[in-house]
Symmetry: C2
Subunit: 617 residues, 2 copies
């Protein structure tokens, strides 16, 4: 293992200035008293799977939401925690690096020390490897000094992504016990937070004193649900990529002879591609969610792009920019089915060279049709979560080749009369992952770090730190915690051979909501994006001046703040109770009954139609 | 042709703020009087080729340097131009887009209008195509409004790169005459400025009234000589690329399992790669100039990288970042020879499919050894300047494959004991070309635009606008003009079949100077870059705050200001004349003679040893 973890680094001028940046804290996290108010028990949005989830997480499912309140909040039920014994907290980076990760640790360290100077924060070196091997580094002001507001995960490093097998889970427990940890904070995305929930449950079962807390950090933006509005790193990644996409758009418009097909990192969901499209207005984006919803084949998509190229050529435009999320390949039905077959054969231990000969006739025909480079990439071993190695599959090149062939055919046939179709392919991923985090990501991560301390001060286990109302200024942010198990869903089918995993509850990645406002914004503009070249350059990520405080467009247009509304509802219910107290006039009571009866009936019908279950009144 | 040229664009917040930025003018360009001082006749640094050049450019070779002076400068010989008749000036973007190009036009427009409101600036649409077809757009404040300080060439567009054939040259002349242009300003790199010189000469010969002025704008930074310190766009490209390289370095250090091989756009010379290395400190850079000087084969380079990987693995470092200039392939002797053979066969009209069968046995053996993807790329038609299509040849993937094979061999053999070598390849080029220009490029380009007006006010033809002492603040910048023909050299050999072009004078791209201070800085740090991971992130390009005013490191460490020194020398010679006037004491005259005799003798010997010619005293 590298011995360079946590060493001070030489910083550039910009980095030095960034290192001095001090994020703000929302009022509810200020001071040294933790005030927590509990809501109702949180249930899984996946009503049909709730039983499976509660069965798998007997100790940690059904716990209440927690809201952290400002000192002056007038909430009589809030629990006030003013004693802060010395604690020992471990923290580990899990999964892919995402800009802002370091700030979670900084915020957590600040909060721990603010409440008790003797408490200690211990970082695990090299991700889960370090967790299992008990390789640690005590986090101090000195260690943090050159990592505040900086990108990457290099202060501690990360290696493998999972704490999944019984051996790994027991290893993690042994480490927590050996190091006498009061809490373990896991920084990661959907997979890592699923692991965090599992650890929490196992620890509770084994009466291990360590509480487990998760933090939503992933560049993909796909850990998103009623409690989580966005993830740390998503804003930065979209800003860095949007800048590059815009540069390429300007390039296309200047030279007027190239199409650029750009694949974007972001795993299976298309959040990054959607956000980048809203920021930079390229001509087209092929969202995986749309493709899946319309069951488009690779040939449909090719035709769609070719028709667009042709329409543009008729307006004398022989250039353009097309965005392709890396997960697209898994959203195209026939390619997904092919991948599932390949992964199934991998699972059976068939070697890479022999897989193609063992495919079903149908899959084999498709496989043989594909160009050799993509065949090789499809044959790669799946990732640990059974998804394809999306970053290695050059879908943009496959589409480029298919579109080129088709445009040449149309040209020959005379149906296309534009210039020869020229395409240049790009993959934007690794070059953004290590970027300096945006101000928003710095703030969000730092605040989440503080929230983690509040969670452990409240003694909660199996919770994810949450900050909501994020589109408002920091002083309006709401801080809380939600049980990770309530974010889980249960997959009820699977084509692959990974049948053993069917039905296992997990935090699954959220797709782009095709009924959401961000998608609506795209749809309303897509024809002008396509034809009018209204490219927009958000510019390089700025830390001062205009644009420095911007947030993801998809975050700002969505109508979120679920946590705020849940709290508001609770207030209304309390108000009814206060007004309609025993002793109140009969007609007031009657009015209340009549109103509430109608409300409950309406809601019961709504919920049954949305979950497919009979209303249980 | 696209009808969208010059239309106002929707700007982002950052772009809007940039559009309001007003670059400063150095004192010598302020006010409405142009003061020009002429130096001695400029000779070509290529002394051996001077005869050929002067023969090819009888009207425009041997013209004096021009220095533009501030109003208050005490130089009695300076010519003062205070009358500014109405002029009509044409401007055209030639060659690849480079950030800052729009500002040259803005500066030129400002200067033209400041001296005579009735003068007109006419932009040619779609590059040289528009020049030949007389497709124009009058540049106005309104047209400029959304292009000030913005990237790309989309205000006017560009298509083909050359004005080379007799037909093209005559077409350009016909356009200039039809539009009654007093001057034509050509914005481009080495090729375009060679064309500009040729046009100037042809126009002079044909007594066409249009004067031709060149402006050094190219992202490659390879139009560099005693008169030109750097080119417009180089700073931005290096900043954008350095940011991405640094992000990848951080990524490598966080994950500790990948090597990244990054190829950088920049044509044959390695200026971009050198500057990016100095800014972001990746582990290795393979400069084409070093490879050429040491005559390293592709196997030598592979071995060098493998040894580095092995040495790093011994220190438990299984990650790293290697930069590869796109021109490297032409610097590797055997690959260059192979390319020359291929281009020769192209020249003879042999079709791409048949080339491999007609190679010499030696070249054929090498060709067959190479992986199929690179063979296909090597077979591409050469560019118009007979160089390979460097942006299309994935040298980074070739090296990745060779290194991987060798590391696997060493692993098997047991000589390498590190982790399996994993490599990810990138090409950084197009994503930087359309970037918002840095403050330095905005300023430099804007000032060069003004200088163009001064050149035409002075009635000069075949000159390149120059600004020197660039590493100092804008108010210390020196503005002038140098005959383009004095920057030319004559190639005295060529292996290829393009024998007809041998000996034609041209402005050739400048290589990285292996005796220069920038290279020295790299050499002094290369072993710590290699082993110590002292990665540095200059951050995203900033427009405010720290880093916003930084300039290329290679510009700042070099000891330049040739134009300033030439002027200083002139002042000393004048001083000697002033002191040693007829009537001065005999011993003063004797001392002057003795001193000057020794000085001239020393200089004659120095110059003869550097050019290989006998001193002609």
């Amino acid at each position: 293992m590298d011995s360079d973890y946590g060493v001070p680094r030489e910083l550039s001028e910009v980095q030095k200035k960034r290192a001095l940046y001090q994020p703000e804290l929302p009022p509810c996290l200020q001071g040294t008293t933790v005030r927590v108010e509990y809501g109702d028990a949180a249930i899984a949005a996946d009503a049909a799977g709730a039983h499976v989830i509660s069965h798998a997480f007997p100790h940690t499912y059904g716990q209440p939401l927690a809201h952290f309140l400002r000192k002056t909040a007038n909430v009589p039920d809030a629990k006030v925690i003013s004693e802060h014994p010395t604690v020992r907290v471990g923290v580990v980076f899990c999964g892919r690096q995402s800009p802002g990760g370091h700030n979670v640790i900084w915020g957590l360290h600040e909060a721990i020390k603010a409440h008790n100077l003797k408490s200690k924060l211990i970082g695990f070196l090299g991700g889960t490897d370090g967790l299992l091997a008990q390789k640690t580094l005590e986090i101090t002001d000195e260690v943090l000094s050159s990592y505040k507001n900086q990108g990457g995960y290099d202060m501690l490093g990360r290696t493998k992504d999972q704490i999944r097998t019984t051996e790994q889970v027991n290893g993690a427990m042994a480490s927590c016990q050996a190091l006498k940890l009061d809490a373990l904070v896991i920084i990661g995305g959907v997979t890592s937070n699923t692991d965090a929930a599992q650890l929490a449950e196992t620890f509770a079962e084994a009466k291990c004193a360590t509480k487990v807390v998760g933090v939503p950090v992933t560049l993909n933006g796909d850990l998103k649900n009623q409690f989580v509005e966005t993830t740390v790193g998503f804003d930065t990644i979209c800003k860095v990529n949007s800048q590059l996409i815009s540069n390429v758009c300007t390039d296309a418009l200047s030279a007027e002879k190239y199409y650029y097909f750009i694949r974007l990192m972001g795993r299976k969901a298309s959040h990054v591609a959607l956000e980048c499209t809203l920021q930079s207005h390229p001509n087209m984006v092929i969202l995986g969610e749309e493709v899946a919803a319309s069951k488009l084949t690779i040939f449909d998509i090719t035709k769609q792009i070719c028709d667009a190229v042709q329409a543009r050529a008729e307006k004398d435009k022989n250039h353009g920019v097309v965005l392709i999320p890396e997960g697209l390949v898994e959203s195209i039905p026939e390619l997904y089915a092919l991948l599932q077959e390949i992964h199934g054969l991998h699972g059976k231990g068939v070697s890479m060279e022999n897989i193609s000969s063992q495919l079903s006739p149908w899959a084999s025909a498709l496989f043989e049709f594909l160009p050799p480079f993509i065949r090789k990439q499809l044959l790669l071993h799946p990732e640990s979560d059974d998804s394809a190695q999306l970053s290695q599959i050059e879908t943009e090149k496959l589409l480029a080749q298919l579109v080129e062939t088709e445009m040449n055919r149309r040209l020959k046939e005379g149906t296309y009369k534009g210039k020869k179709f020229n395409v240049i392919c790009h993959f934007f991923g690794y070059q953004a992952r290590g970027a300096l985090p945006s101000k928003f990501d710095c703030d969000y991560a730092y605040v989440l770090g503080h929230v983690c301390y509040h969670i452990l001060a409240a003694g909660l286990n199996g919770y994810l730190a949450t900050v909501t109302n994020l589109k408002s200024p920091v002083n309006k942010w709401r801080c809380g915690a939600a049980p990770i198990s309530s974010m889980m869903t249960v997959k009820r089918w699977s084509r692959g051979p990974a049948a053993t995993q069917i039905g296992k509850p997990a935090v699954h990645m959220a797709s782009v909501d095709l009924k959401g406002k961000a998608f609506e914004l795209l749809r309303n503009n897509s024809s002008s994006f396509l034809m009018e070249d209204i490219y927009r350059n958000p510019g390089p990520l700025q830390f001062e001046g205009p644009g420095a405080d911007s947030k993801p467009i998809s975050l700002c247009v969505e109508d979120q703040d679920y946590m705020g509304r849940i709290k508001k509802l609770q207030e209304y219910l309390e108000k009814v109770k206060t007004i309609v107290k025993p002793g109140c006039p009969q007609d007031v009571l009657k009015a209340a009954l009549s109103a509430m009866s109608s409300v409950t009936e309406t809601l019961a019908i709504m919920i049954s139609s949305s979950t497919g279950q009979a209303p249980s009144l």
